[in-house]
Every structure is written in structure tokens, then in C-alpha cells.
């Protein structure tokens, strides 16, 4: 049993290290794209079978985004990002629960001792993926805030004059908020990575301790966690976007 925080390299492609996690994020992307192309051409007025699932997911995500944004235009603008985040993270999380995770792989020589490099690894259990997502999310949040309020209006949220009502406290809180924006990258990426990686480690350990029956409740639990983490990721993005677009409240003096 080998546990590696870093995703293991499967092979190199023109000097690009293809890790197992990267490979499977590409697979998830392709799957989602194919589902998109497939479902689009098959859509009919009266929903049937697969279309029902797509529509149900669509409608509930749309209702979720709308419930936070409370604005049709903003909903339409940010729905693609939120929905893609949710679906991508959800599929990545659940992919890591497939049989063979952490068990099927190839032997590799690692510092003199033979280790197993598993083929299957969830994209969410790789910091590269989660940090990439967080960077996109945080960048989008800043851009949305600046577009909605203007550079000056958005900056007012963080740089507060120490000569008005809450005085130095206000200034301090503003700087903390600025720091908070930066730490969002860390919190987003490590929350997702930590949860999914921990789940995979937990399942691997359980599997090595008691191979039969006992891992099942944990597997169910990880399915739940996978959903919750995807939901949290999308929901936090949504809420932060909404908050970034709200103007700074002038404290009534």
C-alpha cells in the first residue's frame, strides 16, 4: 500500500508528464462533452429517458443559480461556469470511487523499492486540478466584481479610509478581506483536494484491512461526500460571485 499526495506519473508525452489524475480529468472532460453533444441532438419536446435526467439536472442547477443571483441576466451569464464546475467536480469525485481505484496499476521502482502506480485516480485528488479550478474561480470572482462595480468601486471594498466611522477597524477589516480573496485560492483547492484525497486514502486503507463488506458503508459515504464537495464548490463560487458584485455598504454614521 502506497499513498502518494502527488498524482503519479503514468507516462511522458513530448516531455509533458501525464499523471493518472490528469489522464482522468481529460476523460471526464471528454465524457461530459460527448454527453452534451449527444443530448443536444436527441432533445425532443416530450422528454423521455435520458433527456429527463439532463433536464432535471439542468432545471435544478438553474433554479439554484437563480435563487442566489435573483436576476435572470446574471443567472444566464454565470450559469455555464457554475454548472460546469459542479458537473466536472462531481464526475471527477465519483470517478475515483470506481473499482480499481488505488489497486490496479503498474509496478514501478521507487527509490529502490517496488511501488504500485494506480491507473485510476480522481482529478479532484490532485492539487493541480483543484488549484487550477480555484484560480479560474477566484479570477472570475475578481473580474465579475470589477465589471459590476468598476475598478474604483470594487477597490473600495478593500481599501477603506481610516477617517470615517469604523475608523482603523474598517481599514483593517478591508485589508483582511483582501487577504481573504487571496486565501480563497487555497481554501477552494485544499477543501476539495483534502476531502476527495482523504476519501480515497480511507477507502484504500479499508480495502487493505477488511476487503469484504466493511468498505461498503464508506463507499456510500464517499459517494455522498463526492456530491457534497461538488455542490459546495459550485455553491461557494456562486455566493462569492454574488457578493463580489454587491457594492460596498456605506456604514451609516
Amino acid at each position: 500500500m502506497d499513498i502518494s499526495i502527488a498524482a503519479e506519473k503514468l507516462f511522458s508525452l513530448f516531455g509533458f508528464p501525464v499523471t493518472n489524475a490528469f489522464f482522468w480529468t481529460i476523460a471526464v472532460s471528454l465524457t461530459l462533452s460527448l454527453i452534451a453533444l449527444f443530448s443536444r441532438s436527441k432533445f425532443q419536446d416530450i422528454p423521455r429517458g435520458f433527456q429527463n435526467i439532463v433536464e432535471a439536472v439542468f432545471e435544478s442547477l438553474l433554479a439554484l443559480v437563480d435563487s442566489v443571483m435573483k436576476d435572470r441576466v446574471q443567472t444566464a451569464r454565470f450559469f455555464p461556469l457554475i454548472a460546469t464546475l459542479f458537473l466536472f467536480v462531481l464526475f471527477s469525485n465519483w470517478l475515483g470511487l470506481l473499482p480499481g481505484m488505488g489497486t490496479i496499476g503498474m509496478k514501478a521502482d521507487h527509490g529502490g523499492e517496488a511501488t504500485l502506480i494506480p491507473f485510476l485516480r480522481s482529478g479532484s485528488a490532485d492539487l493541480n486540478t483543484t488549484i487550477a479550478l480555484s484560480l479560474i474561480v477566484v479570477f472570475t470572482i475578481q473580474a465579475a466584481g470589477i465589471i459590476a462595480l468598476g475598478l474604483r468601486g470594487y477597490a473600495k471594498k478593500f481599501f477603506i479610509s481610516p477617517f470615517h466611522k469604523p475608523y482603523v477597524i474598517g481599514t483593517f477589516v478591508g485589508l483582511l478581506e483582501l487577504l481573504g480573496e487571496a486565501t480563497k485560492i487555497l481554501s477552494f483547492s485544499f477543501r476539495l483536494f483534502g476531502n476527495i484525497f482523504a476519501g480515497e486514502v480511507l477507502l484504500t486503507v479499508m480495502l487493505h484491512l477488511v476487503p469484504y463488506v466493511l468498505p461498503l458503508p464508506f463507499l456510500l459515504f464517499e459517494i455522498f461526500v463526492g456530491f457534497i464537495q461538488a455542490f459546495v464548490f459550485a455553491m461557494l463560487t456562486l455566493v462569492f460571485l454574488k457578493m463580489a458584485m454587491l457594492p460596498h455598504e456605506e456604514h451609516a454614521s
Binding site: 502518494s4 499526495i5 502527488a6 498524482a7 509533458f16 508528464p17 499523471t19 490528469f22 480529468t25 481529460i26 472532460s29 461530459l32 462533452s33 454527453i35 452534451a36 453533444l37 443530448s39 443536444r40 432533445f43 419536446d45 439532463v54 433536464e55 439542468f58 432545471e59 438553474l62 444566464a76 450559469f79 455555464p80 461556469l81 454548472a83 460546469t84 458537473l87 466536472f88 482529478g123 490532485d126 492539487l127 493541480n128 486540478t129 488549484i131 487550477a132 479550478l133 484560480l135 479560474i136
Partner: protein, 159 residues
Amino acid sequence: MEALHNLGIDGKLLLAQVINFLILLFVLRRFAYRPILAFLESRTARIEQGIKDADLAREKLLEIEKKEQATLVSAQKEARDIITRAEEAAKKRSEAHEKSASEKAKKFLEDARAEIEEEKRKSLSEIQNEVASLIALSTEKVLREKADSEKGPATRFLD
């Protein structure tokens, strides 16, 4: 840098993941969200329109039924009115007819009676005249005969 490496963070992979997600976002937006959203919206609009149309049609139908009923009732009433009016008129006319007929008959009768009376009187007076002339004639005749028989049988009778 060592820490980043230990966590498996790799600049190339990170960039690749960013690009991967952006491509996925673009593909889904282009091929899934936009068309499906448009599809759902148009279907919602169509369903709303359909329900509205159905409601409108039902309302109109009710209205038409009510109107029909009202028309029927008013038509019946009118028909009844026309019939009663016609009956009344007919009755009045026949009464008038009867009255005038009886009056005419009466007048006719009276006229006839008057004429008869006249005729009677005329003929009576004529008869009187005739009789008078006859009497006069016969008297003359008798007288003459008597005068003639003064010397004859006639005198016998005068005795």
C-alpha cells in the same frame, strides 16, 4: 519550491488543467447550456401559451354557451309575444268584423223593412185610389142605370 513539488504541484500540469477546464466550459456552453436553455425556454413559453389558449377557449366556449342560452330564451319570449299579439289582433279584428257584419245586416234589414213599408204604403195608396175610382165609376154606373130605369125596373129597387 520543494514543498510544492512534494504536494505534486507542477506548473505544466496546472496550466494544462486550467486550459482543459476552460475548453470544457466553452464546449459545454456552446453545445449544451445555450441550446438546452433556449430549448427549455421556448418549450416553457409554448406550454404557457398552450395553457393560456386552452383557458381562453374554455372561457369563450362558456361565454358562447351563455349567449346562446340567452338568445334562445329571448327568442322564445319574442315568439310568445308575437303569438299573443297576433292572437289578440286576430281576436280584435274578428270582433270588429262580426260587429260590422251584424251592423250591416241590421241596416240592411232596416232598409229592407223601410222599403217594404214604403212599397206597402205606396201600393195601399194606389189601391185606395183605384178603389176610389172604381167606386166612383161603379157609383156612376149604378146611378146612371138607376136614372135609366126611373122609368124601368130600377125604380123598383128604389122603392
